[in-house]
């Protein structure tokens, strides 16, 4: 087992290296000049030259890369060109916000998606099934920004129930924190619940047709016991896989929702950094995301082996 893990980690190292090179070089393809952007309306040639030198922008790309990467290896991701704040500090302060949002969204998605899928499968072909399908389809096709703004107009402006946007750390005010998270999490969650519902439905339909369900029914078990205990449990495997994938997507893909609800998360951090040509932040964030994904993959592989004894011997 340990050998297996060690092997996986060794494979992860070159992947991270390749990612770091890609991040660095692709960024050079961005049009625009970071120094011009940084200097804004004050284009003093002397200052431009100084900034170019300070951030080594005139060095050849490989030289820039090694200067940056050797710092990264020492745990220094650099400082933001725009605000002077250390990149690592930015990442560590934004990541929990996005993780919290992702967890909230996931809970909402699961709470809506799985029951809806189960009901749709059990009542296949009835009006309930069709209704669930229509709701799921609209969940998939309604754009986040539209739903977000609509919710703000209705819930915050008209009814004044929740704050329109922003973020309050849970350490400061837990209740307010939850209130600010509700709408964005709902917007993200409903979008995801649609695909969860569709997957649950088809997985349930597959299971409900199998022999052991027929046997269970023939034994005279109550139908809700058959559905919840025998069918759903078995149908859950692909749903769990999907959920973890969706969760990963949420961490990186909540950009639009974070923008609308002005949540200072990971997505907003990188979008702003790209627009401001804040290279240090872009590099740091993308690298961290890549490392995070690789770590999650590694973890999934290990868990998979732990969970399924047959795989241990298959190698």
């Amino acid at each position: 087992m340990l050998r297996y893990i060690a092997k996986r980690i060794l494979i992860a190292i070159p992947t991270i290296l390749i990612v770091s090179v890609l991040v660095f070089t692709l960024q050079q393809l961005l049009p625009g000049d970071p120094v011009l952007t940084l200097a804004g309306e004050e284009r003093d040639p002397q200052v431009l030259a100084f900034l170019r030198e300070k951030y080594r922008l005139d060095d050849p790309i490989p030289v820039q890369y090694f200067a940056w990467f050797s710092q990264v290896l020492q745990g220094n991701l650099g400082i933001s060109l725009r605000t002077d704040i250390p990149v690592l500090h930015l990442i560590l302060s934004k990541l929990p916000v996005t993780i919290e949002l992702a967890i909230f969204a996931m809970v909402i998605a699961l709470a809506i998606g799985i029951p809806a899928g189960v009901i749709a499968a059990v009542r296949k072909g009835t009006s309930v099934d069709y209704a669930a399908n229509v709701i799921a389809l609209s969940g998939l096709s309604i754009p986040n920004f539209w739903l977000g703004i609509l919710l703000i107009m209705l819930v915050s402006v008209r009814w004044k129930l929740l704050p329109a946007s922003g973020f309050v750390p849970p350490s400061e005010d837990l209740w307010l924190n939850i209130k600010t998270m509700l709408m964005p999490a709902f917007v993200l969650g409903t979008g995801l619940s649609a695909s969860l519902m569709r997957h649950t439905r088809s997985a349930m339909l597959g299971v409900l047709r199998s022999d052991y369900i027929r046997t269970a029914k023939a034994k005279g078990l109550l139908s809700h016991v058959v559905i919840m205990k025998h069918a759903l449990r078995n149908a859950l495997v692909p749903i769990i896989t999907l959920s973890t994938l969706l969760f990963g997507e949420l961490l990186a893909g909540a950009v639009l929702t974070e923008q609308i609800f002005t949540i200072p998360g990971f997505g907003k951090l990188i979008v702003d950094a790209v627009f401001n040509r804040d290279y240090a932040v872009v590099q740091g964030v993308v690298l961290c995301t890549a490392v995070g994904f690789i770590a999650m993959n590694l973890l999934a592989d290990v868990l998979y082996v732990l969970a399924n004894p047959r795989l241990r011997h298959a190698r």
Binding site: P31, E42, Q46, V47, D84, W159, S165, G166, L176, I260
Partner: protein, 499 residues
């Protein structure tokens, strides 16, 4: 059920009002400011925060006159020496005294810090001398009529010299303004609190001021309507009608000191070798093809006053005789005929925003009637900046936030070596006039020089000014005493909540 809902709503409103304490003013900004060090900062929103955080030597009035702030009086002892008397008893937020030595340390830092963006603003300063504890003499290498206005902005903000030594000043700024820095969460908020020892503390009523960047204009307005914000800057023109109709809001627009316009590539590389770039009659024709009143009414909802010159209406250097030209398609066609061209093709490049897009489309349609075939090139802003410098454009839609002194609105854009002269328009006579206006302190003489310069520009048209940049503020009804300034800054003196 209904009852339960209304109780819930009441409870929520109560929770909202108690957490957002009655004496906290929340201001919605268009973007997140950059580094909070006046010498290194570059954003407009950063200047809005500094206005509450860092006092300057002098301030301005809504009609662009200079008034005392940290300096109580100033005199030109000779054309190359500007002497300031400082306000006695002023303290920095860390308790240090504000004196002549502190002012000298700040001006020296602004001039010498390698990445200071204030160097060119203080380019005429040769040395700063402390005459006595509360008197500073700024010695110049050449006369400079713009100096006082530079010192009414970031270059004149005085920070605590003791704090300047720390490496993270840009994250924990210490100045002497009415509010002191508490905390900043990037992309989320900047919190300031009342500075009890401020020299004019009685005129500032809020305990806390919170700046929140909310980039989406619709969401910014929704926050104000929902009571999460008390004041916002830069309302989208498309929301003007709705705000005016809303009795819970106050609309407070002001015509700014900046402008929007079209920069024509007249002299920057190969792309300038076109009829438009080379023949002033073609440029004049383009100007006559544009109806600025339509832009104002259709895109600007009436808050985009037509501009025909770089100086704002509030400026004493604005002259009626250079007012925006009315649209005249026949004249435009005639000018094109004189220039010997039938139809003129060019690319119009602009930064991607809804307003600019609309303006570009309107210009495209209007100019087509006079004989211009315009291709629209929406471009992301940073990319556009670089292409502009490299001369890779025909015509750019540009905006300038504006400066109090006339020099800042004209010199960098049309002098041969001007730092913001993307079209590289170059005219020796114009250079001479504008350089002289820079060193002329006498207002009447200076105005003559600018009039002469403007006469050349009106004829040569390297830039077509379209409208004056407005600063449309919106306030919750309870905010009283707010006065919009043409520089777009938010001054909180005398602003309070009505009880």
């Amino acid at each position: 059920m209904k009852k339960a809902l209304s109780i819930l709503a009441a409870a929520a409103t109560l929770a909202l009002t108690t957490t957002a304490s009655a004496q906290t003013l929340r201001i919605g900004l268009n973007e997140d400011p950059d580094v909070l060090d006046p010498h290194r900062a570059r954003t407009f929103v950063g200047r809005i925060v500094f206005t509450s955080l860092c006092d300057k030597l002098v301030d301005i009035t809504p009609d662009l006159k200079f008034v005392p702030q940290l300096a109580t009086e100033w005199t030109w002892t000779d054309p190359k020496t500007l002497t300031f008397k400082l306000r006695p008893g002023v303290k920095f937020h860390d308790g240090e005294p504000l004196n002549a030595a502190a002012v000298k340390a700040n001006l020296d830092r602004a001039r010498t810090l390698p990445d200071s963006l204030r160097k060119s603003e203080l380019g005429s300063v040769e040395s700063v001398e402390t005459v006595d504890d509360l008197t500073v003499a700024v010695k110049l290498s050449r006369p400079d009529a713009t100096l006082l206005s530079q010192l009414s902005d970031r270059a004149g903000m005085i920070m605590s010299p003791k704090a300047l030594a720390s490496a993270d000043f840009g994250q924990k700024p210490i100045c002497s303004g009415p509010y002191r820095f508490v905390e900043r969460v990037q992309n989320d908020r900047i919190v300031l609190e009342r500075f009890k020892d401020y020299w004019d503390a009685k005129n500032y009523s809020f305990e806390r001021v919170v700046f929140q960047p909310v980039p989406d204009t619709t969401v910014r307005l929704a926050n104000l309507k929902a009571g999460n914000l008390d004041l916002l800057e830069r309302l989208a023109p498309s929301d003007v009608a709705a705000v005016k109709a809303d009795s819970s809001l106050t609309f407070a627009p002001v015509s700014g000191i900046g402008y929007q316009g079209l920069t024509i590539n007249t002299n920057n590389g190969e792309r300038s070798k076109t009829p438009l770039g080379q023949d002033k009659r073609v440029r004049q024709a383009l100007e006559y093809a544009i109806d600025r009143d339509v832009i104002n009414e259709v895109v600007g909802a009436g808050i985009f006053p037509p501009a025909g010159q770089p100086f704002p209406e509030a400026s004493p250097y604005n002259d009626k005789k250079f007012a925006a030209k009315k649209r005249d398609v026949e004249k435009a066609k005639k000018l094109l005929k004189e220039a010997g061209v039938d139809r003129v093709k060019f690319d119009l490049t602009f930064g991607t925003s809804t307003t600019t897009q609309q303006i570009a489309e309107i210009i495209q349609a209007m100019a087509a009637e006079a004989g211009f075939d315009i291709s629209l090139r929406p471009t992301e802003f940073a990319a556009m900046q670089k292409e502009a410098q490299a001369g890779n454009f025909d015509v750019n839609v540009i905006g300038w936030s504006g400066r109090v002194d006339p020099d800042g609105n004209i010199h960098p854009f049309v002098t041969c070596k001007g730092g913001l002269n993307d079209g590289r328009y170059c005219n020796q006579e114009l250079d001479r006039l504008l350089n002289e206006a820079r060193i002329t302190n006498d207002e009447a003489k200076r105005k003559e020089l600018y009039d002469a310069a403007q006469t050349i520009l009106q004829d040569e048209v390297p830039i077509i000014y379209t409208y004056y940049q407005p600063w449309p503020f919106v306030l919750a009804k309870k905010v009283q005493g707010f006065k919009p300034y043409p520089d777009g800054m938010i001054r909180l003196k005398g602003v309070s909540f009505s009880s």
